[in-house]
Subunit: 420 residues, 2 copies
C-alpha cells in the first residue's frame, strides 16, 4: 500500500478563489414560461412593449363627467347631469360624452371620450337617471392616463436578475407568456469506490451505501443547478478517467467523490492532471483537506473526499458558490446571520481552518461535527461556520457568523409577531 | 351601479389569525425518492434500521495488529510483524489474524478478525514483507466499532422536519431509497373578471392581462405548495360559484382573485357565504383592504383583490403562511432582517396598517409602493415591511423590520469574505 504526501496545503480562501476563477458563467439560454420562471435568472433585460394600460382609466368607482359642466356646482346649487350609461372594467362607452351627461364608471374602466374627471359615488345624489353634483370636478380627477402602470419602455426585469413573484407578475401584466433565462448548470456527480452500494443492495463487510450523491444533488438544486448522478465507478484509474471524460462534454461542472486523498487507491490526484490543468491538491481545512480541482478544457472538475461529512462541508463552501457562479446567480450563496453557540467547540486541528456544520435549537447553534469519518455529524445541519487557522476554540455563548443554506428556524409565534 | 359599504375592518393580525386557525394541516402523505426530497416535510420519524457501519472498521490508513503482540515494542527494540495481506475499503481479510501477523488496512476498511488496533503507516518501518513496530499499540487504537456512524435506532429525521441535504445524505447512508413525506398542498387559483386577458390575446380598451395567477403561483411554490391555475371566470356569480365548488374537492385551499370589494360586480362577498362560513370581509390594511375569507367544509377559501399590487402584498402575509401551515412546514415563512430605508415612506391611509413591498439597493431598502392600482409597484419587490395603524411615516435612514421572501441581496465579494 503506497502513500504519498500532500504538498503545501492551500488556504481555503485561495482554494475557493481559484475554483471561482475557473468556474465560467454559462451562456446557454432558454425560453421559460413566465409561470415556471420563479427563481430563474433572466438572460435579457425586458421592458414594457407598450403602455399598460393602453387607455385612460378611472381610478375610483364614480361618475365620469366633463369638468366644464361642473364649474359652477356648489353645495347649495348642485349641477344636475343625466346618467347615460355605465362602464365596468372591461367595457367601453360607445360614443363621446355630450354636454350635461355623465357615465357611471368602475375603478379600472376605460374613460368615455370627452370625459375628463370622475366624481365618486359618495359625493353625489342620484335620483332616477339624474345625478346632482355638489362641487366642481377638476380636470384629471380620479383618472389616470395610458401607461399609468408601465409607460412603454419601463424596465421590468434586468439581465442577470433572479425572477421574483413580483417581477413575474409584471411580465404577465405586460402580456409576456415566456421569458429568456440562463439554462440551469448541469452538474455531473460521479462517485467512485468499490465499497459503494446503491439503495436496495445488501450490505457486506467493508461496504457502505453511497450517500454523497444525494447530499450533493440537494446542494446543486439549492444552487439552481440540475444534478446528474452517475452510478458508482470502481476503484480503477482507467474507468474513472473514462467516466469523467464521458461526462465532460454535456456537463458545466463535474464533481467526483471519493479517492481524492494520497493513498494507493486514491486515483483522482493522478487522473485529474491527465484531463487538464491541476489547480491544487489539498486544502488547509478540516474536514475536507483531501480536495483537488482541475480545469479540463474550460470546465471545472472537482475531486471531493468520500467521507460524507467532509463532502457535506465542501458542498456548502465549494459546490454552492461554484454552481451559483456558473448559473450566473447574483447575490450571496447563503443567508448570513450571527448566532450564539449553545455549547463550546474545539478545533480538532487548530493549524487548519475548521468548517463547523451547525444545527439550531432554541435560537442557539450547536456543532454537528463529530469527526470527518462520522456520517451522523450531518444529521440536522442547516448551515455552517468557519473558524480560521489558529483559532483553537469557541466558548459557549460566544457569537459566530453563521451561513445558513436554508433560513434558520426561528422561535415560534405568528408570522406577524413582532411587527409592532 | 350599486355600492355596499365594508362593515368594520378587521385588524390584520386578527384576519391572519382567523385564516391560520382555519388552515388545517393536511394529512395526505406520499413516498418520495430520497434524491428528490430536498425541502420536503417528513411525515414520519425515521431511525437507523441497523448499525452503520455494520462492521468494525479502521479509521486511519495503517496496519491492523494484535495489540498483545506489540506490548514489548520500544523505539530501541521494535517488534517485527509479518504483513500477510491488505484490505481496502470494500474488502475483507479472509481469516483471523494469527500471532505475529499484520494486515495493511485503508481508512474505512473492515478490521480483520483478531486484530484489535491499528498503527499508522508513518509510525512503522517497512522492509519487504515485514513491519517494525516501535511502540505498543493500545486496544482499540485507530479503529471504531459497528454503529460508529449511526448505532441502530439513531434518529435520522424527525416527523415534521424539512429535509436538508444533510438529512437526505444520512437517509441514503442508511440505505433508504425513499422517505414518507407530507403531500404538497394543492392551491387552486381562480381569477375572475371580464376584463382579464390571457397571454397572446389582443389588448382591448378596458382589458388587462391577468397577472395575479403568475404572482400567486410563484408564492405558492415558494411556500411548498402546488399551484393549480384556472382560466379567468366571467363576472357572473353563478359561474364563479360553480368554479369554486368544482375546485374545492381536489384543493387544499382555494384563492379567488378579483371582485372582492363592495361594488355591484364584486361577487365574491355574496358567493363565499353560500359555500360556507364567512370569516371576515375587509381588513384594516392598505393595500389589500378588500379581502375576505370563508371556510367551506373544512377548507379555506380566500377572496383576494384583483389589483396586482394588493394581491402581491396579500400573497406575502396571507398566502405564504397559510400554505406553509397547510403543508406542515416548520419555522417562519420568510427571512427576517432589519434594514434601513434609503428614502422616507408616507402611509397613504395612516388609520390602516400599511404593507410596504421593499426593494433593496446598496444595502438600503426602498418602498416599491406607488398605489394599489399600480402594477409597477411590484417590480423589484423581494420582501415587505408592515407599518402599524397610526404610524404616518418612516424617515430616511430609519430602521424597519423587513421580511424577505428571497434572501436579501447583500453586497458583493467572495462568499467567504468576512469569515476570518
Amino acid at each position: 500500500m503506497e502513500m504519498h504526501a500532500f504538498g503545501e496545503l492551500l488556504p481555503m480562501e485561495e482554494a475557493q478563489r481559484r475554483m471561482l476563477v475557473a468556474a465560467r458563467p454559462l451562456s446557454r439560454t432558454e425560453q421559460v414560461p413566465v409561470t415556471e420562471a420563479f427563481g430563474r435568472v433572466a438572460a435579457r433585460a425586458v421592458s414594457a412593449p407598450r403602455d399598460v394600460p393602453s387607455f385612460t382609466r378611472a381610478t375610483w368607482d364614480g361618475y365620469a363627467v366633463r369638468s366644464a359642466d361642473t364649474r359652477s356646482a356648489r353645495r347649495s346649487r348642485a349641477v344636475r347631469l343625466r346618467v347615460v350609461g355605465e362602464v365596468f372594467a372591461e367595457g367601453r362607452f360607445p360614443r363621446p360624452l355630450c354636454a350635461g351627461e355623465a357615465v357611471a364608471v368602475a375603478t379600472g374602466a376605460a374613460m368615455p371620450r370627452g370625459a375628463d374627471g370622475v366624481i365618486i359615488f359618495e359625493d353625489v345624489e342620484r335620483t332616477g337617471p339624474w345625478v346632482d353634483v355638489p362641487h366642481p370636478v377638476r380636470v384629471g380627477d380620479r383618472m389616470a392616463p395610458p401607461g399609468d402602470d408601465f409607460p412603454r419602455g419601463t424596465s421590468l426585469v434586468a439581465a442577470g436578475e433572479e425572477l421574483t413573484p413580483a417581477a413575474m407578475g409584471a411580465l404577465a401584466a405586460c402580456g409576456f407568456a415566456t421569458v429568456r433565462c440562463y439554462a440551469r448548470p448541469v452538474v455531473s456527480i460521479i462517485p467512485n469506490g468499490n465499497e459503494l452500494l446503491v439503495p436496495g443492495a445488501r450490505p457486506r463487510p467493508g461496504s457502505i451505501y453511497e450517500s454523497n450523491n444525494v447530499t450533493l444533488s440537494a446542494v446543486v438544486s439549492a444552487a439552481g443547478g440540475t444534478p446528474r448522478v452517475f452510478p458508482p465507478v470502481p476503484d480503477d484509474p482507467r474507468q474513472i478517467e473514462a467516466a469523467l471524460r464521458a461526462a465532460l462534454p454535456t456537463s458545466d461542472v463535474v464533481l467526483a467523490t471519493g479517492g481524492s486523498s494520497v493513498g494507493e487507491r486514491d486515483h483522482l490526484p493522478r487522473v485529474l492532471p491527465r484531463l487538464g490543468r491541476l489547480l491544487f491538491h489539498g486544502i488547509a481545512v478540516r474536514p475536507g483537506k483531501p480536495t483537488l480541482a482541475a480545469v479540463a478544457g474550460r470546465k471545472l472538475v472537482i475531486g471531493l473526499p468520500g467521507h460524507p461529512s467532509s463532502c457535506l462541508a465542501n458542498s456548502y463552501w465549494i459546490v454552492l458558490p461554484v454552481v451559483r457562479k456558473i448559473g450566473r446567480r447574483p447575490g450571496p450563496a447563503w443567508v448570513d446571520a450571527p448566532v450564539r453557540l449553545g455549547r463550546g467547540v474545539l478545533a480538532p486541528t487548530p493549524e487548519l481552518a475548521t468548517v463547523i456544520p451547525l444545527t439550531l435549537r432554541h435560537g442557539r447553534a450547536y456543532s454537528a461535527y463529530h469527526g470527518s469519518s462520522s456520517i451522523s455529524s450531518m444529521v440536522g445541519a442547516r448551515g455552517f461556520a468557519v473558524l480560521p487557522p489558529g483559532r483553537r476554540s469557541v466558548h459557549p455563548g460566544e457569537s459566530l457568523q453563521a451561513h445558513w443554506l436554508l433560513p434558520p428556524l426561528g422561535p415560534g409565534g405568528g408570522p406577524l409577531a413582532g411587527n409592532g
